[in-house]
Assembly symmetry: C2
Homo-oligomer: 252 residues x 2
């Protein structure tokens, strides 16, 4: 028996590295952020819907990166954008951030470094890692992704943060520079993501693609990204299921 | 009992990340390269001293990087420098590289991706990792360091290759940009290395320092770097011994 790497029908290449979108695909940002927001609110006597606060904070994520993608603003790492967006989210909920100590806000901002993995993530990544390079392909900066990995036990081989590619998905350079650091052709890299838009951009730049369904990423009322919306190479309901699709044993 | 991180006397800061020089400190480049050179020579009917070939190949390493450090040449990754130096080493041993297929030379060049760990490295890194971030701080490029880690089982948390900092040690930026990716102050990062010159440069930029003795890195007749030549924070004869020095339990 010899191991045959999965060959992507769309790229025609054997996959060498399986890289993962993180927020939503590997970790449950809404639950993790809401828990820390609820603790912050309780400690400071604020009454708020912590899930709604997490949604609001997250809603400011794409607009903040967009200013950088368009070149309107120089590259700024995600920790800084999250911190700015926290001020705006607090104001939206009637809390004046200037009345809260900067140390407490810095700690709350680090909730993005401590997000819990989905139940299948650690086992699925460990399975895939036996045969493929595994890493994040995330808009998170290196120190955020590193803290997240140590906290959640994510067994990455390598972490290439957006502060290393100095760009944000879905710009093509985010995918291409990551493949270049790995010394791989784009077609030898697979992006696994819970977001169809991310997979569209990855395919445009020549990567292999896998959809992972995360139907409660946005809470119980989620309406988008419930199913694959493209003919992605693979589609699975968990990272453990993706692992089974990637591991094919052929008689040698 | 609570864990107290090691506090560097020279920086006055608790250490958060312990980063390692790799070639010589974590892996035995001379043995690894010589083995692959010997196999190449045997397969192609050449008679040569494989250890001397490894020494010659390695001797071209610093001069090749120096052209980049001075700005004479733009940043070029170590895989490319190794490949150029291989041609020169072959010629030195009377072998015309143009008479060897490029595929075979590319494979021989990858011997640097497959270097064996010193016997204490994997266990020592795993111990240190329980309490500190561990990673390489090497002139190797990311894909080289990643392959080395997968082959030798080095349990890095993060790999920041020289193609990410786009400079070579001992220039200050090599150390400082690495600390910046980790979002740490230089004094919270410790460099562990078998080379006093590397530790001198690290201390100049404000890092904590640890010497690891590797008295056979250059073979049985080694004369340099047999002992610490500075008042480095720690000195050890193995990474397992360094781990013991870094793990101090204090009554809380």
């Amino acid at each position: 028996m010899s191991f045959q790497p999965y060959r992507s029908p769309s790229t025609g290449r054997p996959v060498r590295a399986v890289l993962f979108d993180t927020f939503g695909t590997v970790v449950d940002w809404r639950t993790g952020v809401a828990q820390e927001v609820a603790a912050f609110a309780a400690a400071h006597g604020h009454t708020l819907d912590a899930g709604a606060f997490a949604d609001r904070w997250r809603a400011l994520y794409q607009p903040a990166m967009e200013a950088i993608r368009t070149g309107e603003r120089g590259f700024t790492k995600l920790d800084t954008l999250h911190r700015e967006n926290l001020d705006e989210a607090l104001r939206h909920f009637g809390i004046d951030p200037d009345q809260v100590s900067s140390g407490i806000l810095a700690e709350l901002n680090k909730s993005w470094h401590r997000l819990p993995a989905w139940p299948d993530s650690v086992e699925g990544l460990a399975s895939i890692r036996r045969h493929y390079i595994v890493g994040p392909l995330s808009n998170g900066n290196t120190s955020l992704l590193l803290d997240m990995a140590r906290n959640a036990g994510l067994p990455w081989d390598v972490i290439i943060g957006s502060d290393m590619t100095r760009t944000y998905k879905p710009l093509p350079e985010a995918y291409l520079r990551t493949a270049e650091f790995l010394d791989l052709e784009p077609g030898e890299v697979m992006l696994a993501a819970a977001h169809n838009s991310d997979l569209h951009a990855a395919r445009e730049t020549g990567l292999a693609t896998a959809f992972i369904a995360r139907p409660t990423e946005h809470g119980p009322g989620q309406t988008a990204d419930l199913a694959p919306e493209g003919d992605w190479d693979l589609a699975a309901s968990s990272i453990t299921e993706l692992a089974r699709g990637l591991v094919q044993q052929l008689q040698s």
